[in-house]
Amino acid sequence: MISKSKKGLISLVLAVTILTTFSNFAMAQVKELHIAINKSPWLPAFEKLTKMYEGETGVKMVLHVFPFMGLYEKELAAVTTASKTYDLMNMNEIWGPFFYAGRYLTPLKEIDPEFTVPSHLMQFFWEGYWDDKVHYQAPTGVLYGIHVNGNIHLLQYREDKYKEAGLPTPPETWDDVLEAARKLFDPPNFYGYVIRGARGDPIFYNSMTIRHAYNGYMFRDPLKGDFTITVNDEKNVEAWEMYARNLNEYGPPGVGNIGQTEMMGLLASGRALQAIVVSAAFPHLDDPEFSAVPFKIQFAVPPKGRGGDHSSTVAGWTMVVPRFISDERKKAALDFLKWFMTQKPQVEYTKMGGVPVSTTVFQSELMRDPKYRFLKATQDSIPYFSSMPLIPECAQIRDVMGLHLNRALIEEEGVRESLDKTAQEILEIMRGAGYKGVTIAPRS
């Protein structure tokens, strides 16, 4: 005869066993994917795409939407507290290297050893990879994430105004852009060039395209581990003179505080001739609800600098899998990414207003549709993709450089002075972070 207390104990053990088995079974079948993502112009397209995935697979997609830097704070809190909240995290390359180096993420090959990146995927300057040996995002590194937004910087200009003025299109060099800006400048009705000059990320990103076009880079050869600082060399000075002094002369007032919204507003209102803008702006500039000049803005590969070449800065987002979730959830997360990269979702994503990451879209009927004319410029820009220095300290470097570039733009500092101060601060950052042997290259 079993005593009452023993009966109670047996019942308890049975109940716990049943519950645990049930919950393990439930966990094995992932019914929901939770994605941390930023609010952006392409978010509506991504939301629609996730509904498409839900329809095809039955997996519910839950998007946790945050503002740009708010997303970073949430993701930082999640990874540093081993949180299991998110299955996928959308990550900007500002903070990507910080997360890769911190081992907060799961390498994709760890989830599926057979996984390889399809050859039709555009290569956004190795964003998503991390090589510990060179401490940089390099093709020799481990793959942590897939680009989910093929956002790049393109020259967006009023082709009709160029043609009216008898100027060749598209402009091939920055000197061509400057000539057009000078010729068509008619303040306050029309501005020749818009600089996204607000302090910090806006000016840092916006100026990178022209700096790289002049072969003006931050470090000598970071892919090989050579972090000699070249940010204040003559090529950078020349690029910066063109940007902050020459082009700025034909720009709108208040350039020191112009952000992406103001820049797009000036283009969309028909008050500006041209600017370097992200390709993700394309649906808004053709939307008659938003734009006074729908279908009048053309897209082109950003021009060449003197002594340099074209350069299109990537401005993308990489989706990664955090380390602390279960293997089943990691697999479900990777399954979504694999699906995302195939042609049908990519074409649909573009139709919904997203920016594709696969070259298969270039074989679709969208290439013949004027609504998607940015695709041709994107395809032509592929050989010229460039990126910011992809190291854990890049967020700090961007912030420091964004301050000095803004000061140079509003003439609080001279061009050389601001670049020299930037070089000095980058040197302090790199040495403080433990990089050995970093120096500032003599100016050449």
């Binding site: 930082l76 208040g254 505080n257 507003g265 700090q396």
Partner: protein, 287 residues
């Protein structure tokens, strides 16, 4: 004795929820902040104790000192402006304009700071903004309100005053309407002018209420962040970078979480000292 013990237990149980809330939402975070202040965040490892490293860093950090100075200027001018305008409005409205007018006056205070930032950023836009458009109509050259380093901070202060004057207005209006009428009648009989009545009766009688209003506004003003972030992000250059903005940049752009925590701790100390000194000064001046 039994009753005393029972009452003690009851009292303890009644206050326990509040104590738990206080511990978890105030004391524990504050203790964590102190711990973080003497640590550095190492990628992949977490927080490591670094002793006084953050202290020396702060002493040598010119940008931190400049942003602290800017913060005090921002707070002093904003709160003073809110007080002058709020008191003026309260004197104007006292005893009249009930209902709709009073409700309209407090509307700015009801709008979220982020929304206020967005609205004013649009209004201040040098090309499309309504302020420059109105100025142009009356033949005055518009300004680069948020992009000119000479005036950007004052432009941001105007927004702060616009939004929070209603708060001081409400408190001062309540105070004015509760003042005893007999004092004013007596002053009138003695031939005191309006100004004399205001200086020798209104202000002294209102002093406790003024101190409370200024105290709360000063504390809140030190925490200003979202409006300024939307309006200028601390720019152009760093002319609108008050300490809250600088702490954010240090913590989440430079990833120096330990140093950011230390700066936050320093600000808590400055705020306490500032408030104690300010309130003592006000109390002596008014009384």
């Amino acid at each position: 004795m039994r009753e005393l013990t029972h009452r003690s237990i009851t009292t303890f149980l009644m206050t326990l929820p509040l104590v738990i809330i206080l511990v978890f939402f105030s004391i524990y975070p504050f203790v964590s902040l102190i711990k973080m202040s003497f640590s550095s965040f190492i990628v992949g490892k977490g927080y490591e104790y670094v002793g006084l490293k953050n202290v020396w860093r702060f002493i040598e950090d010119q940008r931190a000192w400049e942003s602290i100075g800017r913060t005090f200027l921002y707070v002093f001018v904003s709160v003073s402006g809110e007080f002058v305008v709020g008191l003026g409005l309260a004197l104007l409205v006292k005893g009249k304009f009930k209902g709709v007018i009073r409700t309209m006056v407090i509307i700015p205070m009801l709008v979220a700071p982020i929304a206020v930032g967005i609205i004013w950023r649009l209004m201040y836009d040098p090309v499309f903004g309504i302020i420059n458009q109105i100025l142009a109509k009356i033949g005055i050259q518009g300004k680069n309100w948020l992009a000119d380093p000479q005036i950007a901070l004052w432009s941001v202060i105007i927004v702060e005053i616009w939004q929070w004057t209603p708060f001081i207005f409400l408190i001062l209006l309540a105070g004015l309407e509760s003042l005893p009428k007999e004092c004013y009648e007596g002053a009138k009989i003695d031939g005191a002018s309006s100004w004399q009545t205001f200086v020798y009766f209104t202000i002294p009688l209102m002093s406790p209420i003024i101190i409370v209003a200024l105290f709360f506004r000063t504390m809140e003003c030190f925490k200003a962040f979202d409006k300024i972030w939307i309006l200028t992000g601390g720019g152009p250059s760093d002319v609108t970078e008050i300490i809250s903005i600088y702490i954010y940049r240090v913590s989440f752009r430079h990833n120096l979480l330990g140093y950011g925590a230390f700066l936050a701790l320093i600000m808590v100390g400055f705020i306490v000292i500032y408030n104690l000194s300010y309130m003592g000064f006000l109390r002596r001046k008014i009384q």
